[in-house]
């Protein structure tokens, strides 16, 4: 770890900020959000940004046994001595790792116990859509996209005392202080200069194998496809696209700076990026042997997207129908019919791709056993095409995760399916899935934890702390997941795992009492969410606003607007 290509060292620079992704190095180094902040702070502010990741349990045990405190990779100085410790919080299953890192660093777990010498601990990222499960451990949260406010945060850290620093941070738009009296919901910040700001051009390149090992160029932020289950689709609105010239120039610079020979054009839905064909063609032409990859394909446009791939790149493709029947997909606003699915599958196998992975969810609102059985039926149809076209040379796999309702989505008030129902539906899938299709089911107990924390209210931080004290950490890793710790902590809190954590309080029929709304204004209006929930019940489609009329989600206005290439 450490010693990467493009590492920045700024000895003596102040303030000293440590950026952390609360997972193992191999996972965290691949996170594009942290790379953005690392480049932004180091190259465009006087501050120094360093990094620390969560040591795996065997290393953590050794560090505790030998009294070694968590250090930053750039300076090898203790993390505890920095001015600001910023965490990117990707999902609920990383929460106990935050406590693990605070403890390993020797920083008091609770914000209330921190003194003048301790860093300000700040959280950001998509999981702060509901910050309550971590409220006790953070001094501040940043709600939304921080790029436009980083300079103000750096400036606030120059205040002479801890109280003054927190006071100045409170004045920065998007900052929510969980321990400040009478603070209302904070509006999610949108980086309005996104399309005029180049992507990361000098990313850190790990010397050890990482989860993602390639140049990552963010071509677009936001997605307005309107899938009703998708938190990212609501959280990152509106759509903003970067010009193709900027994308290609950034790719050229990043390739030269990294030594990579692969570029991934990322966004929530890269096939919807208006300049995708031109960007792929021009990046490939930069030098021989450059490969371009897209993280996901839309089923309704897969055939044309796949045609652009060079023969040597034809490996595996993932398609995400999400649900097994047309009616349930309509409820989700996932406008894919069986004909489009069949065309996409044919395109995959006719195009010479050697693998197809289908991604589904179970536990969706109003889901029936017939909906669940639709998944093996679609897999069987795809398997027939594989046999017919690829003649047994292609692999087919199906991945099924358990749906967890998330805040600030049209399904935010829907009940979680629960352990018994999910276990029964997983068994149904195992029985009905064609034998030659590889079935992969998401770890159920992890989903229960996710469901408990995703909509946790005030007091749910006690549950996180109790679980961590009982040994929970790396909850997203099946081999490290400690079911007994979580069940014990939930029982002590009087909960069944899967029920939303925290002090019990009614959410109200329209979600007016939902705890996440007391902390976060995601800019998506409650009226829009309610209307979308009603339309889901009626199986009514909502158009993508980039293709038609405004759907009045409430995000645009006051300088925030959709920016799509002409």
């Amino acid at each position: 770890m450490g010693g990467e290509f493009n590492l920045r060292r700024k000895p003596g620079a102040r303030p000293r900020i440590v950026l952390s992704y609360p997972d193992a190095y191999e996972v965290g180094i691949s996170n594009p959000g942290l790379q953005i902040l690392y480049e932004l702070v180091n190259d465009r502010t006087p501050a120094a940004a360093e990094r620390a990741y969560c040591p795996l349990p065997d290393m953590a045990d050794l560090m505790r046994a030998r009294g070694v405190r968590l250090w930053a990779l750039e300076s090898a100085a203790p993390v505890a001595e920095c001015d600001l410790w910023g965490f990117t919080l990707p999902h609920e299953l990383a929460f106990t790792n935050v406590l693990e890192m605070l403890d390993l660093a020797g920083v008091p777990l609770h914000a209330a116990e921190r003194g003048e010498e301790d860093p300000v601990v700040m959280g950001g990222g998509p999981a702060v859509a509901d910050p309550w499960p971590l409220a006790a451990f953070f001094d501040a949260f940043f709600i939304g996209e921080v790029e436009g406010h980083m300079a103000a945060i750096v400036e606030a850290l120059g205040a002479p005392s801890r109280a003054a620093r927190l006071g100045r941070l409170a004045a920065v738009p998007g900052v929510w202080l969980p321990h400040a009296a009478a603070q209302g919901p904070v509006e999610r910040q949108v980086f309005t200069e996104f399309s005029r700001t180049p992507p990361v051009e000098r990313p850190l390149v790990p010397l050890v194998e990482a989860v993602h090992d390639r140049v990552v160029i963010e071509v677009m932020r936001g997605c307005t496809a309107g899938c009703r289950f998708c938190q990212a689709g609501m959280w990152y609105r509106p759509v903003r696209e970067r010009p193709v010239d900027m994308v290609v120039e950034a790719a050229a610079r990043a390739l030269a700076a990294t030594g990579y020979d692969e570029v991934s054009l990322v966004s929530l839905s890269s096939c919807d990026y208006s300049g995708i064909d031109e960007a792929v063609r021009r990046i490939r032409a930069l030098r021989p042997g450059i490969r371009v990859s897209l993280p996901s394909l839309r089923i309704d446009s897969a055939a044309s997207s796949l045609a652009g791939f060079a023969a040597e790149q034809r490996g595996s493709v993932t398609l995400a129908p999400e649900a097994g029947t047309q009616a349930l997909r309509e409820r989700l606003n996932k406008r894919v019919d069986e004909r489009q699915f069949d065309e996409a599958v044919r395109a995959v196998f006719s195009g010479g791709f050697t693998g197809l992975k289908l991604y589904f969810m179970i536990g969706l609102p109003e889901e029936t056993d017939d909906d669940v059985l639709g998944i093996p039926a679609m897999a069987a149809a795809a398997a027939r095409r594989a046999k017919e076209i690829a003649r047994g040379r292609a692999r087919l796999s199906v991945s099924v995760s358990s749906y967890v309702p998330k805040p600030h989505t049209p399904f935010e008030l829907e009940p979680f399916a629960g352990e018994d129902a999910l276990r029964r539906r997983q068994a149904l899938l195992r029985t009905a899935m064609p034998r030659h299709v590889r079935l992969s089911l998401h770890h159920l107990e992890s989903s229960l934890v996710e469901a408990t924390l995703a909509r946790g209210g005030p007091g749910s931080d006690h549950l996180v702390e109790d679980a961590w004290r009982r040994g929970a950490r790396f909850d997203g890793w099946t081999e490290h997941f400690d079911e007994a710790a979580w069940r014990g902590a939930a029982a002590a809190a009087g909960l069944a795992l899967g029920e939303p954590g925290g002090d019990e309080a009614p959410w109200g029929a329209a979600g007016e009492g939902a705890p996440w709304r007391a902390a976060v204004d995601a800019r998506v209006s409650p009226g829009f969410l309610e209307e979308e929930r009603r339309r889901a019940a009626a199986l009514a489609a909502t158009e993508d606003c980039r293709d038609g009329a405004c759907v009045a989600c409430g995000v645009c206005g006051a300088g925030v607007e959709m920016e799509v290439l002409a």
Partner: protein, 228 residues
Amino acid sequence: MRTWLVSFARRGPARYLSHLDTLRAVQRTFARAGVPLELSEGMRPKPRLSLPLPLPVGAAAEDELAVARVGDSAPEARRGLAALRAAAPAGLEVSALRESPRRVRPQPLRARYRCEVRGDAAAVAAAARGIEEGGPAHVVRRGPKGTKTVDLRESVGDVSCRALPGGARLEFEVRYDAGAAARPQEVVEFIADTAGIEPVLHRLRRVEVVFAEKGRARRAPERRSTAT
């Protein structure tokens, strides 16, 4: 055909890289320097780049060798050296570059290692002498394909021991042209077992490697060499 013989040191956090990670870091250094590597032929072309003697994880090294076949558009050696130096990550320090107009396949003949152990220096010295002067020094190597017994005396020689506060510095040579070569960790474990000390080595460093190039020996200097 142009072959580059690149000498480099591995220090700091880079000493914890595996052989494959080191190889990948050197490959990326070439790419960042804008030096095209020749590719192998076949379905999945790979850059023609090799590190003839893998380094153990955790070992620093003073003078390692990378052998690369470079494309015709590669710069001349002096400019290539400067570009590689500028492009290398912290911990991989490029010290010299020699170009050969023919295909070169250096074979490692012997390497010299230095490390430190904690414990009674006199016992360590006696155990170290035992490798050269005693009976067979067998270690058992266990792998996925079964076990294999290696006699350290066949490949380890010139063992010396110097007392340090709380321990000792060991230095030994491993020959690579005499069958199964000993691994540095195996040498230390054998000595530790004989001396009754903890089998933990500190500051392992490969200080010198001698290669043969088509029958001609190339002795790498112990210290960082200057540009050629």
